[in-house]
Each structure stands twice: as structure tokens, then as C-alpha cells.
């Protein structure tokens, strides 16, 4: 196991959205702060810093995780996916992102990256969720603008699309 000292800055390297990234940080630095302020990937947002709101959700080795409850050093050597990794390289939105726009599933957009990441993980494991299952996943996130109606509609639309073209 890698050992890090509390007072030393340490080099942390992982892949972010398929690309190798690296930076130095104290061992106590949160993954949110590392992503946002060391790497400069500001798409991941910080809403509560106590794991409730879900704004900061990222994928670590494909699994949704709260990056505000994760130390940057815990990402060492792993594959991190954030909202910046969802669209095509030319900026074209993926099906989930498009559905969010079409169903007005965001207003201020601050909670949106975390919600997109949770459903990116979930829909990969369960492409055809029921509405109850969608609500169950979404209940791990707080949104103050939308009342959630558009988000549920957007994910339902995407999963309906999935059922036409099973992957």
C-alpha cells in the first residue's frame, strides 16, 4: 500500500475522462478540490461537502462516488470520469444530455453534473429502469430549481430510447 505523510505534498496521477492527469497535493486534499483547483476541471461542483446533495458525483472506475467524501490520493491510478467526459470530442451532447435539454431538466445547472454522472453509472448497469427505479437513484441528489419533474422525464425518455436499441 502506498504511504503518504500528512505534511508532505504528494504527486497524484490518474486518468480523467480517458486522459492521464497528474498534480501535487497534500494528502488531506479532497478529490473535488483536486479536480477543480489543481487539474482545472471545474465541471464537478461542490454543493454541501457532507455527502448529501450529490452535486459532486463522479465515476471512479465506472462507479458513482461522492468526490467531496473522497480524498484525491484515493484516486491514484484509477479511472475518474466527470461531466466533462460525457459529450463527444466535438462537443455533441450524448443522449442523456440531449434529453436533459429537451425536457428542461435543469435550470441553474449546478446540481446537474452530479445527476448526469449518477445516471451514467446507473443506466450502464440497468438500461431499462422503471420510473420507481429512476426516482430511487435521483433521490440521492438535491435539486432546488426544477422540482425534479423534467429530470425524471429526461431519464425516462433516454431509457425508452435504450429499449429500442438495446446495447
Amino acid at each position: 500500500m502506498r504511504r503518504v505523510n500528512k505534511d508532505e505534498r504528494t504527486r497524484i496521477s490518474f486518468t480523467l475522462n480517458g486522459r492521464a492527469v497528474s498534480g501535487e497535493a497534500e494528502s488531506r486534499m479532497l478529490l473535488t478540490d483536486f479536480l477543480r483547483h489543481v487539474i482545472g476541471a471545474t465541471g464537478t461542483h461542490v454543493g454541501c461537502e457532507h455527502g448529501v446533495c450529490g452535486c459532486c458525483t463522479v465515476l471512479i472506475d465506472g462507479v458513482a462516488a461522492r468526490s467531496c467524501l473522497t480524498l484525491a490520493v484515493q484516486a491514484e491510478g484509477r479511472a475518474v470520469t466527470t461531466v466533462e467526459g460525457l459529450a463527444a470530442p466535438d462537443g455533441a451532447l450524448n443522449a442523456l444530455q440531449q434529453a436533459f435539454q429537451r425536457h428542461h431538466a435543469l435550470q441553474c445547472g449546478f446540481c446537474t453534473p452530479g445527476i448526469l454522472m449518477s445516471f451514467t453509472d446507473y443506466l450502464a448497469r440497468n438500461p431499462h429502469p422503471t420510473e420507481d427505479e429512476i426516482r430511487d437513484v435521483l433521490s440521492g441528489h438535491l435539486c432546488r430549481c426544477t422540482g425534479y419533474a423534467g429530470i425524471v422525464a429526461a431519464v425516462r425518455a433516454v431509457s425508452a430510447g435504450n429499449s429500442k436499441q438495446p446495447s
Partner: protein
């Protein structure tokens, strides 16, 4: 809803009034938003952390920062003494010795009050250093209950005021005494609206820089307005407004009124930058936000109606005691006065007496919040109307309909002076209950009750004001005091349309971004005027007080966009259109009246083949100003300014048209209360809206859904709780319950469009309505289900259990 996509080059036959998807979304969905904490800062920027009071009321005896200052990386520890030397207390709307600085001076008055600011190389170091700052307090007795605070024996928040009840104003409209003398029955009720916030997901962010060569401050903050607070901040910093450059980031993570209250931190970060000589950045965390950012005011209303036996309301009396917490920050007491003109709600009641009281307690200061006085007022009125029905043995809906302002009376002047611009309330109610909706609710109720369940039906009818009269707050003062201070009135909106040499159209405006889709709607308004595709209109709303056109009314609050800024953009684009039509008429050899704008062309209406590309016509104004038609001003930039004359100052007898537009909402719902757990399940909810002409129905429905969720939150879940000693008990999202998707019931939205005759677009403010109607509607339904009179929000299982304990 059949939404329309935004794609360049695909000209829409109609740009305005359609459910166009938002141009804001692709960036926000891709992690490319530019929120305040995302923006780059200057090299050498320091990071701040606020040390806060653990006491509700205490003298500050000593602050020892020596150990903190010895920590490597710490630049400064700033205290109330620094703040007192370098700044003045914030101006307030009332002449009362309530002095608030950006840090506590000599004493603290609520848990979470800012006591000192640690400034260091990183936020981590600043938080380390904060642990080393020793603050000695001498605790004092605290008071959190607003009624107790009015008692003569209560500890005083601001002893120089000699009372905690710092303002009492009585208003009389019509002959209320005669109405009560003529009444068959007097029906009274006391309601208590709780403290809560709508906690935007993004907390406060400030980055401040001091420019010593001209003594100015350059501050970036996710402030939302109203910009009437800008002079308050500048005065506190002892600079003219031009030396406080305030810049708003391109994106903001929600506000709902709450981000007005970043303003004390603008001043605090500004002086921290001056003291340290380096830029200072502060990012609030959630714990700070919950404890100390801002709250809606709690209000106790005693209301009574003079009623006839058939439920007609002849007169009303309201005694409103509003609790603003420890200070009265400008522009408070807005919530207590914003609804003054519409204090009789949706009802035709000619006589009303109002007493408005302001009390201070040892709680976080209250301020702007979505709904802004409406939720408190309508909980009182709508609960009272339900009680009138119960006590007179009448049908609740019949009592509502009997008192609604009839359609033929519009425009309608209320007893308290509001000019309701348009409406057909009876038709809205008829539509809402039609198509079997009310029958279905009754069927659900009867089935549930037959099975022994607790089921109730609730209604609420509310008037939703849009765009505040800047003079409404002066109703707080006596007519004499207003006379001395000079009349205040009106509301100025501004938007600028600029066209570049290639015909590119850009728009800026006096609103701050919070997520309402203003960029999309402004692009629709301007595209509609210029025959362009909304996708091709660039809208930039990162307001900069040094460069943009703004007035004290600027900002995004009180639903001022649709009746205000949208109109200003329409005016600016119309003027540009007139200018371009003149140029094109010259070049196409037709009369300006024959010019139309469509499909990216400027062309002859009678001969559409006689056309020029839009960009070509625009280019002429840039490249050939000498060739412009006679008398035409050069340049293709127009600032539309809109200032509706109906927003008059308060009259000498205190009548006030508090807002420009007045929409209407009628809600009805069925709820079931579990007899064992006392949890409330909303079974069906219908919300009928008349907000005049809808500029973008997709966005309008989004606003309704969002306000509804916040209304549900206020009705059933959210409350800032303090114990009797002033300890704050709602300090995390595990204690303060923001509803998740599991708590938000389905919502059925209906619309009716009665255009406002007072604005060129016919659109009214519409984004706050369900914050006002939904708590009242649910409270009425729960009262109906349980057969009780007193229902306090939020209707938590604990509260309902206590209410029902001992009842069979």
C-alpha cells in the same frame, strides 16, 4: 409539450411564445458553466475563512489571533475592530440604531454571526488557522420567540432601540369599523409562518481586489440584486459607487432571493483585500450557509374577517408581526411591505386595516426569498377563507368564488392601492375544477374516508405580483417622513442590443443569471423583432456595474424579468428594427412601412424578392454612416429603457401600487394523512396559472414546477429550528430537510393567458406563485382532513402528532 430545438440556420416562423429549448443548456450539461468559483483568479490571490459565533447573544471580550498569525501562510486575521475602523455600518430602510457591520462589533447576536476573517495562502491553511484563534465571549440571555421578544422584559438585541419591536405601522383603507359593525359574523385566526430558506445549491462566492492608485474595489460576487444594495455596499466601504465595481459571473447556481445576502461579504472581502494588499477569495461552505446566509422571515399573523352569513367578506383586519432576526438588512422589511397593495389577495374586499410590526430576535437575519411576503400573507388569508366556510357551514370553494374579484372590474384598484392589470379569476377557477378534476378529488376523498382514512381537499386562490415598485418600501415610513425624504416610485428596466459589422446581434441586460433561462427568452424577444433565429442572438448577462446600463431596480428578483427587462429588450430591438428598416428602404427603393424582417433578410413585404441579407443592412450602418437616411443617428446599439407610469409613489393615505403586473393562481389538492405515522401524502395537485402572455411555455412550466417543489418544502419539510437559547438545530442537510424527488408529488399545470394591458408583451411575472399558493393549499387540505383549525407549517409528522394527541 412539443419543444423546439435551437439550431442555427433553421429559421422559426415564430420566435416568441414557443417552447424553445434553452441556449444555456449545452454548456451547463457539459461541465462548461462559468460559476463564480470556476473563474480564474489573479496569481497571489489569498483565501478567506470566516470564524463564526457559537453563541446566540454574547459580548466579545477578546480575540487572540497570535497563534493563528504565527502559522506559515497566514496573511491576516481581521476582526470587528478592523471593520469598524475601515467601514461604516450598512444603511437600513428604517431610522433606527440597528448597526450591522460585515463582522460582529463588540457583541454577537446570533449563532453563526461572522466574528473574524482569517486570510491565508489556501483555504486549508485558513481553516487550520481559524482553529487557533481564541475568542472569549461573555454569554448573554437570548430571545428567539418573536412574541417573547416584544415583551418589555426581553433581552434587547440593540439596546439603543430600547425595544425589539422596532417598527409598528397601522394602515386603514376604507371603513373597516363599519364593515365589522355590519357583519353577521367575525371569524378570526392566528397563523404562524416558519423560517426557511430555499438554499441554492451553490453557496456564496466573493473575489475582491483593492486598487490602491484610485482607492477602488473590484469585486466579483454571485450577487443577484436588487442593485439598490450596491449603494449600501459602497457607503459601507466609504467610496462613491464608481469605486465599487461589482461584477457578476456568467452562471450562478440558483438564488431564489438568497444571494442578495452575499452583500455583507462583498464588503468584508473588499476590506480584506485592502488590508492584505492582495486579492482575496471567499467561498462559503454549506454549514455556514445554513447557519448564517439568509432566511425568509417568520411571521405571526392575526387575521379576522367581517363576514355575512353567505360568506361574503366585508372587511379584513390583519396584525402581522414579522421576525427579521438579529438585524434589518436593506432592503428589509421588503416581505412585510411588498404585498401591501395586494393585502386583500384575489378578493373584492373594500375595507381593510393592517398593522405591520417588525421584531428583532437572536436568529440569523432574514432577507429576500422567493415568494417575498406572499407565502406569509396567503397562508393567513387562505386559511381564513377556509375557516369562514367551516364556521358558517358553507362550501369552501363557494366562499372563494363569492369573494373573487369579478372579471368586469379589471383593471381593478384594490383597497390598499394596487392596480390589478387584468384577470378573469372565475374562469380560471372554472377551468381548473372542470374536466372532472374536482369530481375526481371528491371521489378520492369519499373513497378514502369510507375506508377510515384521513383525507382532505384544499384550495388556494392567490394574486402573484410581478416587478416591484421601488417606492413600496417607503410605505414603511409615515407620509410626513416620505415627504421629507422625497418620493420614491417606479422601476427602471434596461437592455441593450448591439449589432456588429457582420450583422451579429448581441444583447446585454440588467438581470443576473440564476437559471431562469433569461438568455433564451431575450434571444427570442430580439429574434422576433429582427427576423432572426434565436440561436444566432448572443446574450451576455454577466452584469458589470462599471460598464453596463443599470438602475437601482436591476437584478433578478420579484419577478421583474417578464414585465420589466423583457420589455426593455423589446423596446431596444424595436428601435434597432426601425433604424435598419430606414436603411433598407433606401437601398431597396421602398417605403420603410413596406419593410419586413424575416428569415434573416430585410425585404419588401409586397415584393419579398426585393431583399437584402440582414448582415448587409447592418454593415451599412457601420461602414457608411454618411450614407444613412437623413436625420438617422449613426451606430447600431440601442439601450431600451422601460419605466411604467403606473408605479406611482405611495399616496398621502398610504395607498400603494406595489407592483406592475398581477397574475392569478388557483390551486387545489387532495391529501391523505396517515393516522399512525402522521405523514402527509399529496394525492393529487392541480395548479392553474394566469400569467398573461407566456414568452416561453417550456421555461414557464419549469418555473412552476420549481416553485411548487419549494412550496411543498415549506408546507411539509423545511424549517430553520432554534432552541429557546438560540442554538441552531438545522445545521446540515441531514437536519434541514430539502425534499428529494421522493417527496415531490406529481403536479398538473394549467394555463390561461389574460395579457397585461400595461406591458407591450402582455407578460406578467410568474416564477414565484406556487411558493405563495402551495403552502396555503396544503395547509387547507390538512385542516380539512383532520378537521382542525390550527395547522402550523411545516406539517411534519411530529407536529401533526402533537396536534392530534388525545383526539379520538
Amino acid at each position: 409539450m412539443n419543444v423546439r430545438s435551437q439550431s442555427s440556420g433553421d429559421f422559426l416562423s415564430q420566435a416568441l411564445g414557443i417552447p424553445l429549448v434553452r441556449k444555456e443548456d449545452p454548456a451547463l450539461l457539459s461541465g462548461r458553466g462559468r460559476y463564480a468559483d470556476d473563474l480564474p483568479v489573479a496569481s497571489g490571490t489569498l483565501h478567506a475563512h470566516v470564524i463564526r459565533s457559537p453563541h446566540a447573544h454574547a459580548k466579545i471580550l477578546k480575540i487572540d489571533a497570535a497563534a493563528a498569525l504565527a502559522l506559515p501562510g497566514v496573511a491576516a486575521v481581521i476582526t470587528g475592530e478592523d471593520v469598524r475602523q475601515l467601514t461604516d455600518p450598512f444603511l437600513i430602510a428604517l431610522k433606527a440604531p440597528v448597526h450591522q457591520w460585515s463582522l460582529a462589533v463588540e457583541q454577537v447576536r446570533y449563532v453563526g454571526e461572522a466574528v473574524a476573517l482569517v486570510v491565508a495562502e489556501s483555504r486549508y491553511v485558513a481553516e487550520d488557522a481559524a482553529e487557533l484563534v481564541q475568542v472569549d465571549y461573555d454569554p448573554m440571555e437570548a430571545v428567539t420567540d418573536p412574541l417573547a421578544a416584544c415583551d418589555k422584559s426581553a433581552p434587547l438585541l440593540h439596546p439603543a432601540c430600547k425595544t425589539n419591536e422596532i417598527s409598528v405601522r397601522k394602515f386603514a383603507y376604507g371603513d373597516t369599523a363599519a364593515a365589522f359593525a355590519a357583519a353577521d359574523r367575525v371569524i378570526a385566526l392566528t397563523v404562524d409562518y416558519p423560517r426557511l430558506s430555499f438554499t441554492p445549491m451553490e453557496c456564496y462566492v466573493v473575489v475582491a481586489e483593492y486598487r490602491p492608485h484610485d482607492g477602488s474595489y473590484d469585486v466579483l460576487a454571485n450577487f443577484q440584486g436588487p442593485f439598490s444594495t450596491h449603494p449600501v455596499m459602497a457607503k459601507a466601504l466609504r467610496v462613491p459607487g464608481t469605486r465599487l465595481r461589482l461584477r457578476i459571473p456568467p452562471d450562478s447556481g440558483g438564488s431564489f432571493g438568497i444571494k442578495l445576502s452575499v452583500s455583507p461579504y462583498v464588503v468584508l472581502a473588499a476590506i480584506a483585500a485592502k488590508i492584505t494588499g492582495r486579492p482575496v477569495k471567499w467561498v462559503e461552505d454549506r454549514a455556514e450557509h445554513l447557519a448564517a446566509a439568509s432566511s425568509g422571515p417568520n411571521r405571526i399573523t392575526r387575521i379576522e374577517a367581517a363576514a355575512t352569513l353567505d360568506g361574503r367578506i366585508l372587511g379584513l383586519r390583519l396584525d402581522q408581526l414579522e421576525d427579521y432576526g438579529a438585524f434589518l438588512r436593506a432592503p428589509m422589511p421588503g416581505p412585510l411591505y411588498r404585498m401591501q397593495g395586494s393585502v386583500t389577495g384575489a378578493y373584492d374586499i373594500p375595507n381593510v386595516e393592517v398593522t405591520n410590526r417588525i421584531v428583532l430576535t437572536n436568529k440569523m437575519p432574514a432577507s429576500l426569498i422567493r415568494g417575498f411576503g406572499g407565502p406569509q400573507l396567503y397562508l393567513a388569508i387562505e386559511r381564513l377563507v377556509q375557516r369562514i366556510a367551516v364556521e358558517l357551514g358553507l362550501d369552501h370553494l363557494d366562499v372563494i368564488r363569492r369573494n373573487l374579484i369579478p372579471a368586469e372590474k379589471f383593471p381593478y384598484r384594490t383597497a390598499a392601492g394596487a392596480l390589478y392589470d387584468s384577470g378573469d379569476y372565475a374562469r380560471a377557477v372554472a377551468t381548473a375544477i372542470g374536466d372532472g378534476r374536482l369530481d375526481d378529488l371528491k371521489r378520492r376523498r369519499d373513497t378514502a374516508r369510507a375506508a377510515g382514512k384521513l383525507y382532505g381537499i384544499g384550495f388556494a386562490a392567490v394574486v402573484e405580483p410581478g416587478m416591484s415598485n421601488m417606492g413600496y418600501l417607503s410605505t414603511l415610513l409615515t407620509a410626513d417622513a416620505r415627504e421629507r425624504a422625497g418620493p420614491k416610485n417606479g422601476a427602471v428596466s434596461m437592455a441593450t442590443v448591439n449589432i456588429d459589422p457582420l450583422g451579429g446581434v448581441s444583447v446585454s441586460a440588467d438581470v443576473t443569471v440564476q437559471g431562469q433561462g433569461h438568455q433564451t427568452v431575450l434571444s427570442q424577444i430580439v429574434a422576433d423583432r429582427l427576423g432572426l433565429d434565436p440561436a444566432d442572438i448572443k446574450v451576455t448577462l454577466e452584469l458589470d456595474t462599471a460598464k453596463d446600463a443599470w438602475s437601482i431596480a436591476a437584478g433578478t428578483y420579484s419577478c421583474r424579468f417578464s414585465p420589466g427587462t423583457a420589455v426593455a429588450a423589446h423596446i431596444a430591438a424595436t428601435r434597432i428594427r426601425g433604424r435598419l428598416a430606414g436603411i433598407a428602404a433606401n437601398q431597396l427603393n421602398v417605403l420603410p412601412d413596406d419593410i419586413e424582417f424575416a428569415d434573416g433578410q430585410v425585404r419588401s413585404r409586397s415584393n419579398p424578392d426585393n431583399a437584402l441579407p440582414f448582415g448587409r443592412v447592418a454593415g451599412t450602418a457601420h461602414w457608411s454612416p454618411v450614407m444613412l437616411p437623413d436625420g438617422m443617428a449613426p451606430g447600431l446599439s440601442e439601450t431600451g429603457v422601460w419605466s411604467p407610469p403606473e408605479l406611482e409613489p405611495p399616496t398621502s393615505d398610504d395607498r400603494i401600487n406595489t407592483s406592475l403586473t398581477y397574475g392569478f393562481i388557483f390551486d387545489m389538492c387532495g391529501v391523505e394523512v396517515d393516522p399512525v405515522t402522521f405523514s402527509v401524502r399529496v394525492d393529487r395537485y392541480v395548479s392553474m396559472h394566469d400569467a398573461g402572455t407566456l414568452l416561453n411555455p417550456l421555461i414557464a412550466d419549469g418555473q412552476v414546477h420549481g416553485a411548487f417543489a419549494q412550496g411543498i418544502a415549506a408546507a411539509l419539510y423545511e424549517e430553520f429550528v432554534y432552541d429557546e437559547n438560540g442554538n441552531f438545530l438545522s445545521g446540515s442537510f441531514a437536519d434541514y430537510l430539502v425534499p428529494t424527488v421522493s417527496e415531490i408529488p406529481p403536479l398538473e399545470i394549467l394555463h390561461q393567458e389574460t395579457p397585461s394591458p400595461l406591458t407591450p408583451l402582455g407578460a406578467k411575472g410568474m416564477a414565484e406563485g406556487n411558493c405563495m399558493s402551495t403552502p396555503a393549499c396544503i395547509a387547507n387540505a390538512v385542516a380539512d382532513a383532520l378537521g382542525v383549525k390550527d395547522v402550523s407549517l411545516p406539517l411534519t409528522p411530529l407536529r401533526l402528532h402533537a396536534l392530534m394527541a388525545g383526539k379520538p
